[in-house]
């Protein structure tokens, strides 16, 4: 769906800090930043990726992106082990602006168990809830 200028794909889970999480068929979770986040950050020129193998906890900072103006923390939408980081972003950080839900993905996380993942997903927003959330942010 679309809220104003912002794309909010259905089927993903969203954080209040504007990350998205997509549960893949193998049970791992692909993560990135939302269209709203990339438009607010504007001109992303650098990313600091998490190391593969590192354990992250839900809503703890695990990466950061630099716009020209500032550095912003990226929070892990779910807990688990980072099994893959998108190294293409190191040379092409602009992919975060151009394709935030596609080529601009940041990392893939392997949750400790499907049960733990299901529990954590309850703390995240659906597309509908996130759409309403950014509508409120824009309105204020």
């Amino acid at each position: 769906m679309r809220v104003g200028d912002y794309e909010v794909p259905e089927g993903l889970y969203y954080t209040r800090e504007h990350e998205w999480a997509k549960v893949l068929e193998d049970g791992t979770v692909l993560t990135g930043i939302t269209d709203y986040a990339q438009k607010k950050l504007h001109e992303i020129v650098n990313i600091e990726l998490p190391e593969v193998g590192v354990e992250v906890s839900q809503m703890q900072p695990f990466a950061s992106v630099d716009s020209v103006k500032a550095t912003s923390e990226i929070y892990a939408p779910v807990s688990g082990e980072v099994v893959e980081a998108n190294e293409a972003l190191l040379n092409q950080p602009e992919l975060l602006n151009q394709d935030p839900y596609g080529q601009g993905w940041i990392a893939r996380i392997k949750p400790a168990s499907p049960e733990k993942l299901q529990e954590e997903l309850k703390a995240l927003m659906t597309a509908e809830q996130y759409a309403k959330y950014i509508e409120e942010l824009e309105g204020s």
């Binding site: 504007h42 650098n46 600091e48 020209v68 103006k69």
Partner: protein, 386 residues
């Protein structure tokens, strides 16, 4: 923060329609219109126009004006011819920098001071307090005027198409009275980008009476757009000044920094009479400084930011970044930092503690860019090449 509480410049009406806005020093100002990178590059390669009306403007007049300014400021105003300007510093008794100020000599007994927006009230109180016994009048005219900067290698050509007076003969730091779009302005050949250009003082302009400022702004935009002039926000202003090596008050210097540490000794004249801070600065000159402001260029990926530690090659913390960014021109991280004098030599290899890793950096001379290709001293034609 409540937007209603923020101050506005006379050009606010233009900005809100076109720019991403930000709060700066109590003002609601444009951060960028199109983006920091394209605006930055427009200034290096063609021209840009900035609203800098948030800066302060004080008139200092009277038979005692020269002696007074020579007592409160570090540079020597007696060396200034009428209709010329220079950079100066306001220091406290300890030699700490209260502000950096541009001083424009309009006439023998008439000066215009341009302090920073955030320090305007503090500076005015300081000047008034120290003016006792001097035959001067000090008047804050910031709210009755606008200030617009037109910067870049094509700024002169754009302005000359609109100016009633030929501006090409105005030297760097020189001033001239002219009309732009039939509005009288004071034009000074100065700026904060490193490039050639002018700063235009537009009198009798306020948020309630924006017509004159809007006329000048609109005429320059229309005349400049065919050669690539863009409206530029504070985002590009900051990246441009950083590349040029100009310190920002409140970030790269404050009351706990002296002009010698900040490498601004060129604006301190010891061969004039007494001035506030003189003894402390003389003592520091004799003793030597313990830290110096340097430029750091990252030689690997990463963006340095204010507050990050600077480390020697053995990993010992030796200083802190005071401002840093991604350089749109050089396409790498650049920063200003204070380090001990023995590590301040250009070519010295240091480390910057980024979040989670260390990046290699090298001390470089200001400006960060190649002076033969960019900046007002450039020797090659802008927009040249195939």
């Amino acid at each position: 923060m409540s937007q209603a509480a923020l101050r506005r410049t006379p050009l606010h009406g233009f900005h809100v329609k076109r720019a991403r806005m930000t709060e700066f020093a109590g003002f609601e100002m444009p951060l960028w219109y199109e983006g920091i990178i394209p605006e930055h590059m427009a200034v290096r390669e063609a021209a840009g126009i900035f609203d800098v009306s948030h800066m302060g403007r004080f008139l200092v007049e009277g038979p005692g004006a020269e002696a007074f300014l020579n007592y409160v400021l570090t540079n020597d105003v007696s060396a200034l011819e009428p209709m010329s300007s220079h950079y100066s510093l306001l220091c406290n008794e300890r030699g700490g920098i209260l502000d950096d100020i541009f001083v424009l000599r309009l006439a023998e007994e008439r000066f215009l001071l341009v302090p920073n927006a955030a320090t305007r009230e503090k500076d005015l109180a300081w000047l008034l307090r120290h003016s006792k016994g001097h035959d001067v009048r000090i008047k804050d005219i910031s709210d009755q005027s606008a200030l617009v900067a037109v910067q870049g290698p094509r700024a002169l050509e754009v302005l000359n198409a609109l100016s009633s007076v030929d501006l090409s003969g105005v030297p760097r730091y020189g001033l001239v009275e002219t009309e732009i779009a039939s509005v009288p302005v004071l034009a000074s050949r100065t700026g904060y980008t490193g490039e050639d250009g002018f700063e235009l003082y537009i009198w009798d302009a306020s948020p309630e009476k924006p017509e004159r400022a809007l006329s000048v702004w609109g005429a320059i935009l229309r005349a400049g757009e065919p050669v690539g002039l863009k409206p530029c926000g504070l985002g590009a202003r900051d990246t441009l000044r950083l590349e040029a090596g100009y310190p920002l008050y409140g970030s790269d210097m404050d009351e706990h920094t002296t002009p010698l540490e900040a490498r601004l000794a060129f604006a301190v004249k010891m061969d004039k009479g007494p001035f506030i801070g003189r003894e402390a600065l003389e003592a520091q000159m004799a003793e030597g400084v313990k830290r110096l402001r340097v430029g750091l260029r990252l030689v690997e990926r990463g963006v340095p930011r204010a507050g990050m530690p600077v480390l020697d090659p053995d990993g010992r913390e030796i200083g802190r970044i005071t401002s840093g960014t991604f350089s749109p021109l050089l396409r790498c991280g650049i920063a200003m930092a204070y380090v001990p004098p023995e590590l301040a030599e250009p070519g010295t290899e240091l480390l910057v503690g980024l979040r989670g890793r260390r990046a290699r950096a090298v001390v470089v001379k200001f400006p960060f860019y190649d002076k033969t290709k960019y900046g007002w001293k450039r020797t090659t034609q802008a927009g040249g090449g195939p």
